[in-house]
Each structure stands twice: as structure tokens, then as C-alpha cells.
């Protein structure tokens, strides 16, 4: 009888451990994925002064938010907020990544813009060419022309639609689940 009670206690502890570790993994996994997605976007996107790439922000469904500084300089990592217990009550999107730069849509080649070369050297390598339309990355020419671009046309759509974001989420979730030891 006493042996049975001990075994049941062990089972209870194991169940508690599974709950605790699973919640931690499912909270940390998406948070790490969100952080790494921002790093990917900073690497893939344009970096001239650095203001745009330091303007990404990560927000959870329950309203917690961490933001970049919006300041010039090399892109800085943003720690993602962890979901609170309340965050798990929502059955929809858990993390939202957005960019609060006033010219975020132009930088992502979603709309046309009006671009003036500031004459400074961008923080990232650039291509030179002639801008055909009003889209930031729409340059043609073999490294000749009056315009410069630090990211290829449609870099953002390619990241979003080309499978890289799915792979990033999968890697981070696998990594967190792989850390579970019972």
C-alpha cells in the first residue's frame, strides 16, 4: 500500500514537471523565434543610418511590448517579452512583429517613396544603380547610376513568403522542445 502511494506521488510530481516544462518551452520557444526573426529582418533589410533596423518591435497578445531604440547605429537585438499566463488564454496570434519607423512601408518596398541620397556612407554594403520606379530597391544598372540601395527589392516579402520565417520558427521551437528533460 505504502509503495503504491509512493508511486502515485512520483506520478504526480512527474505530471507537475511536464506541465511546468511544457509551459516554459512553449513560452520561450515563440519568444526566441520572435527575437531571431527580428535579427533576420535586420540582416536582410536596408541599413543606412540604422534608424529603420532599430525600429522593430515585438508585442505579445496580452499587450507586453519590447521595442528597438529607433536610433541610428548598428542594429541591436531586441529581447522578446515572455507571454504571461494570461497570454495563453488567447487562442490567436501570440507575437506580433512590426516596425514603427515612419517610412517602414517604403523601406519594405510595399509602397513608393521619394528618396534623397543623404550623401553619407550607409552602415551596410550597398548596390548602385538607377531607380526605375518609386520603389526603394528598384534599381537597374551594373553598379553605375545615381541611386544606392542597401537591400534588394522585395527583401521583406521574400523573407515572409519564401519560407525563411517558417524555418526560423521551426528551428527555435525544436530547440526549446529539445531542451526538455524529465
Amino acid at each position: 500500500m505504502a509503495r503504491n502511494r509512493g508511486f502515485l506521488n512520483e506520478l504526480d510530481r512527474l505530471a507537475e514537471n511536464i506541465d511546468r516544462i511544457a509551459v516554459a518551452a512553449f513560452s520561450r520557444g515563440p519568444a526566441r523565434a520572435a527575437e531571431e526573426i527580428v535579427v533576420d529582418l535586420q540582416e536582410a533589410g536596408p541599413v543606412w543610418s540604422g534608424k529603420f533596423s532599430n525600429s522593430w518591435q515585438i508585442e505579445t497578445t496580452d499587450g507586453r511590448r519590447t521595442s528597438g531604440s529607433g536610433s541610428p547605429g548598428l542594429p541591436q537585438r531586441i529581447p522578446a517579452p515572455l507571454l504571461s499566463g494570461r497570454g495563453f488564454a488567447f487562442d490567436d496570434v501570440k507575437y506580433t512583429i512590426s516596425n514603427f519607423s515612419p517610412y517602414a512601408d517604403e523601406a519594405r518596398d510595399l509602397v513608393e517613396g521619394y528618396f534623397i541620397d543623404p550623401g553619407t556612407t550607409p552602415l551596410k554594403e550597398y548596390d548602385r544603380g538607377t531607380r526605375v520606379s518609386g520603389y526603394r530597391g528598384d534599381l537597374v544598372g551594373d553598379d553605375e547610376g545615381p541611386n544606392r540601395s542597401t537591400a534588394p527589392l522585395d527583401w521583406y516579402t521574400t523573407y515572409l513568403r519564401g519560407g525563411a520565417i517558417d524555418r526560423r520558427i521551426r528551428i527555435q521551437l525544436d530547440e526549446e522542445l529539445g531542451r526538455i528533460r524529465l
Partner: protein
């Protein structure tokens, strides 16, 4: 991996679709320098990009690529969206045709995902009204 075959699989139907319109509408693909900067005539710009190539699959005998297709339609500004939407419809129809193509034993098997848009924009500086759609694709080289 045959990137050129994948590119051709999406570019050819689009070229045919816009070529069949009366009057035919010029289509410009990546690395084509023929679009005159600040032109006021209508045209279409297609950007085919590659994302991930060869994700692990059950067999090593196929080549997979994923990527994005962005189509921008440039029409005269100040004349309403009708013409732009007509051209976008041609583009969407061409993409949907790709999805109804049967899988064969060789060539490229091409499928596009959901189509995002159209979104429209016009700026004071640029001479065009622009409609934009984008979609994802998965292409498998079968030969």
C-alpha cells in the same frame, strides 16, 4: 537545381497573359534595363525571388525551391483604378492557371500560395498609379 526553369515556369505565363491583351502591355522582369526611368506609359514589373532551396524531403531525387512573386502594375495616375485592376486580374488569372496545371514526370511542378493584395498607391512624385500583389510559391524540378 534549375533556377532558370523555375523562373521560366512563372514568367512565361505572365508574359503570354499581358502579351495577349490589346494593346499588349510590356512586362519587365528582374535585371531588365528596358524600363525607361519615370516613363508615363503603363507597364508591369514582375519580381521573382528565391527563399529556401532544397528543404529536407523524403527523397533526394527532387529539387525544391520556395520563394516569392511580386507583381506591380503601373498605370496612368489620375484616371481611377479600373485599368490597373484589369491588368491585375490578368496577372491573378495567370497565377491561378499555374495552380491548375497537372503534375507531369518532367519539367517544373509549380504551385503558388494565397495571393496578398492588391494594394494600391500613388505618390506625388511618381508618374504612376501602382497596384501590387504578392504570393509565395513552391516549385519542384522533376527531371
Amino acid at each position: 537545381m534549375n533556377y532558370q526553369a523555375i523562373r521560366a515556369a512563372v514568367e512565361n505565363p505572365l508574359l503570354s497573359a499581358f502579351g495577349a491583351l490589346v494593346p499588349a502591355v510590356p512586362v519587365y522582369f528582374d535585371n531588365i534595363t528596358a524600363v525607361p526611368p519615370n516613363t508615363t506609359t503603363e507597364y508591369v514589373r514582375v519580381n521573382v525571388t528565391f527563399g529556401i532551396t532544397n528543404e529536407p524531403t523524403l527523397t533526394s531525387s527532387v529539387d525544391n525551391a520556395r520563394g516569392a512573386i511580386v507583381i506591380r502594375v503601373f498605370t496612368e495616375k489620375g484616371r481611377g483604378p479600373a485599368r490597373n485592376q484589369t491588368l491585375l486580374t490578368a496577372a491573378v488569372n495567370a497565377l491561378e492557371t499555374l495552380n491548375s496545371t497537372a503534375k507531369t514526370t518532367s519539367g517544373v511542378f509549380f504551385r503558388v500560395g494565397e495571393i496578398n493584395g492588391p494594394t494600391f498607391s500613388a505618390t506625388e512624385e511618381a508618374p504612376h498609379f501602382v497596384g501590387r500583389i504578392d504570393t509565395s510559391y513552391v516549385a519542384t524540378v522533376l527531371s
